[in-house]
Symmetry: none
Subunit: 208 residues, 4 copies
DNA sequence: TATGAATGAGCCTTCATTCAT
DNA sequence: GATGAATGAAGGCTCATTCAT
């Protein structure tokens, strides 16, 4: 982690070396995460976070230059959690594979919990928006090339539009975990995987 | 929805009857919309809105109890814009039909422009979240029953999972218009429609 | 005054047009002056000034962008008070003339009262420092040319160093009014004028 | 002055006896001096000083009760630097003597460098103001008696006003070194000395 | 009704000072 | 003695909301 520390964040107020300091820093991070998720980013003040972490206001500013930097530190570690693993089409049972992947990814995202906060921030934070956009582009291109390979092996629909289908898969994966929250119901990841496979494979391949 | 409408909005400052007043109210609404989209909800102050509408700060509060209510009024009129029209499967050419629908809906949403603002607000406004959720449920159930009818006519996959597929369609439709913004590229609505149809119809029906 | 308003200050928060507003602005200016003199610039907060003027903190910021701007507004009107009037050497009785001038100028400065504040600020406010410097340069050059004229009329010491003597006169005039404060004693302006004249005129001219 | 010295300074953290401690204390003093001159008194924090001296913040408070006391200690050692040596009128060449004295004193003051800081503090620190005032009174009285002696020897103007002339001399001496800074130009100490002598001696004595 | 000045709570941030290690 | 993290009071400033005109 240390090497990526200044990726989004800059290495502003000292990388804390003592264990104590690390703990306090982590407490602040965790408090930030909780409050951001609970009340939203704007509604959470530095004071709130400090109080929730059981430290004084000033202490917050020893570890973070401001609220935004705390959020960035939070993201930095976890940004990879947004990347769904590349779906593999050359599996004996792609549906199960994807179902498993969806479920794992959903769990990860829900545990992460900051997606809402990101949406709140994207409009006002172009730098962040760009970072996210970049991440999305990567996912998209990974799915895209996976599809291409499958296509070249003759497994997919002949008229597969790589771009549209990659985007559709990405969109469904990204939103799947929200489904649970939204309608309280649970997602049938297996069914969703089946739908995704149907977007890619014609039925005869499916059976194979 | 109509019955809960005033729940959302409150019936505070009386719907003004005079033409002058109506104009002012509309100017405020429009200014609010523009500024919310431009700078985000939190970043827009009541004073900003009033100034942009060419009235005094105090006047704002004659027409709206606060910023939130203005937003709610804005949504009230336009909430239906979120509803994609029910896809019709019993059309000679469902792909083209859906493609057209996607495009129209995308245009409408982009013209509306407040989706970003909604995302900014959802975390802090459970009431609004509930209203949106409700709207979603309606769309979902409409798509659901459309699918069911198609199923009963024997057009769809035999093992169609209504819920999963409805949700997938809804998700793709909701996000399609964002694609343009995100990757600057334009959406190929026809291809997307094809993908959707593939989720629903087996290939042999397709040709019909 | 209005035409010079934006000299040092910029015309930040609206030139108040209503009488009420003018009064409030003036009250703030006066409170600022009093508190600056009493407690020093740094020790005076915007809140203090507002409270002393009997208005809320926010009101302060309607009229001034910050403490510094208030001070600048204060100076703007009064900056000319720093300029001692040009001593006239071609008077029947230059000593009396200068004595009178010194006294008037001292009174003016003491009424103004902000010289201490200026000294507090000069080191940290280069813009202000420049303005003051500029003013000083003007005074200096006026005294300088007055001396030159007197010299050309053959009234002064033959070896008069214009620069040194101008500077000496300026320095004495500037500091004279502080003498009262410093040793509680009062300044004998007449004696001081005599000293100044001795710096300029040889004794034989003196009697003339 | 010696008796009041600890009044100014307080005898708080005991003059440290160990060599190490002395060094640290001196480092802090020197760092304080440098930073005060560079950034001003208010703008310099205890932490700044400690950091500049290469010790921890807490250490600062072992040696000084606070920022003010450090400044006072700084002055304590150097306050005598403010005293211009008594001008001697009974020299073969008083002009040169005084010129030399002015130059030396200017150099000393400029090396000292804290005059600006004093001006920043005087308004808020009556005790310091009193100490300075006291010092001034001493200088004044020394010059005064020097003049008196010269007068008694019949060297000066017959109508010399001791008080006014002492004050004038003191004022010119005190401000001379600032002239360099102010107009970038250099002071012609010889000319200034001549002016001072003219305030004291009539021309015929001058030649003597 | 319309106006916009006034209000003051509350956020962000700094820094003198303390204190556990 | 030294350290530097922690504290929290206090200042700067904004903005939603009220209210006298």
């Amino acid at each position: 982690m240390t090497e990526r520390e200044d990726l989004l964040v800059g290495n502003f107020p000292i990388v804390p070396k003592q264990k104590r300091a690390q703990q306090k820093r982590n407490a602040l991070l965790e408090s930030g995460r909780i409050l951001f998720i609970d009340k939203g980013y704007e509604q959470t003040t530095a004071k709130d976070i400090a109080a929730h972490a059981g430290v004084a206001t000033g202490t917050f500013y020893r570890y973070f230059s401001d609220k935004r930097q705390l959020l960035m530190s939070l993201l930095e570690d976890k940004i990879e959690e947004f990347f769904p693993p590349e779906p593999s089409w050359s599996t004996p049972d792609p549906v199960s594979f994807i179902a498993k992947m969806l479920e794992d990814h959903g769990k990860r995202l829900n545990k992460f919990g900051l997606h809402r906060v990101l949406q709140e921030l994207l409009p006002k934070d172009p730098e962040l928006a760009e970072a996210i956009s970049e991440a999305r582009r990567k996912i998209h291109s990974r799915i895209y090339s996976g599809l291409k390979q499958a296509f070249e092996k003759g497994w997919t629909w002949k008229d597969l539009d790589f771009d549209t289908v990659s985007w559709s898969i990405m969109t469904l994966v990204e939103n799947a975990h929200e489904k649970e929250v939204q309608d309280g119901g649970h997602v049938d990841y297996y069914q969703l995987a089946k739908v995704i496979c149907r977007m890619v494979f014609p039925p005869e391949v499916h059976k194979e």
